[in-house]
């Protein structure tokens, strides 16, 4: 990402738009990442319920992937996955 020079930033540290925190990528410092194995997933959405950062992507009531821009790699999703062969597994970045 190209960062703006000081003359191009809004004065006073003001954020002059609404609802743009989604643009701030907070997952960049992650050391572990969850990998989703869709074949073993039963779409129980326990990972979605427990994810503290709303980083489990769901469409039409089904798990569809992980938002790696905001996932911090905490591993809660992998731990809470109820399948014996975990559908979410943590790997090193």
């Amino acid at each position: 990402m190209t960062m703006k020079g000081y003359k191009d930033l809004p004065e006073g540290g003001v954020i002059p738009e609404k609802g743009n925190s989604v643009l701030y990528k907070t997952g960049e410092w992650r050391s572990m990442r969850p990998v989703w194995h869709s074949e073993g997933c039963v779409h129980c959405l326990m990972c979605w319920v427990f994810c503290p950062d709303s980083s489990i992507k769901v469409e039409d009531g089904k798990m569809v992937g992980i938002d790696y821009d905001h996932c911090k790699g905490c591993g809660i999703c992998a731990r809470e996955c109820p399948r014996k062969e975990k559908a979410l597994q943590m790997v090193k970045e």
Binding site: M3, K4, G5, Y6, K7, L9, E11, G12, G13, V14, I15, P16, E17, K18
Partner: protein
Amino acid sequence: MASEKKQVAMTGNEAVANAIRQINPDVMAAYPITPQTDIVQFYSTFAANGLVDTQMVTVESEHSAMSATVGASAAGSRAMTATSSQGLALMHEILHIASGFRLPIAMPVVNRAVSAPINIHCDHSDTMAALTTGWIQLYGESAQEAYDNMIQAVKIAEDPRVRLPVMVCYDGFITSHAVENLVLVPDDAVKAFVGEYKSEYGLFDFEKPITFGPLVLPDYFSELKAQQSDAMLAAKEVILEVAEEYEKISGRKYGYFEAYKLDDAERVIVVLSSAAGTTKAVVDELRAAGEKVGLLKPRVLRPFPAEELVKALSGAKVVAVMDRAETFSTQGGQLFAEIRSAFYEASKKPLIKNYIFGLGGRDTTTSDIRKVYEELKKDQERGSVDRKVTHLDVRV
């Protein structure tokens, strides 16, 4: 030029309260502290009598007064408060927020010594400790100058090139409570001069929602400080433009400083605020006796007009910078340090020395000032200063 030239008798605080009445801010936060108290006391009477539309907010401390002012200003209104001494010290963290948010707040600060020991009288230890808060600082010698600076401060602060808060400083009791003759600018002329305040952003602008005060980490913090520094530099130009425009409605001239009989002066005193009045009397007396003496009275300390000060003082042989506040650096006062530093690159440097004087309201009389000029004369003859830093009026 103003057609109305009627003189009125007012204290400095009454004059400043009248300037604020003419400016008619949207919000005024009020918390008392001597010797500022009666600015807001006068003002609350104006508000109660319906002379202004201002929302008065009585708060429980100066920390809250500045916080309320910051909130009101961030909401998009023209907001003010006033303070002195411990009050300014208590607001200190919020001073940084006002400037960091780029809020154009104009605030009278009636200079008073900071405790301990507790004291209610004038020195400059309060505003000198606020030089690094990102506020513009204007200093005035008299009730007239305090009044004139107050009106100009609003226009300087709100200029889109600046958008920085301004302190309007003048001496506690000496200026704030003594009655002087002065000329007010007519109400409608002040109203037209300051105009309607239009903020760039406002928390009440529901069409354009914004965030004030988000966390800014190392990736952007330096850039925002660079913006503040640029704005302070831009203020140098704006201060002169506003002064020129103000001259048209008042007939009174302002700049970065006042040069009094400075052109061919060999021995010069640099001093802020009311003590400059005392110094002028001594300059007149010594000039009548053929002595080449002069005075430079700074009006603007932030931004610091270093080049202009050096140019104005470059003809002098010996300069005494007088500071009405200690820094405890053991190397002299703040004004001394900055002026002396400004001369570092100059090819022609006068001898320069420092006097600390008038702390806690100690009277500075014409005989004190005469003593300084006498010492400067000896320094000039000797070709060196006897002492770099002298406490002018301390008993030994």
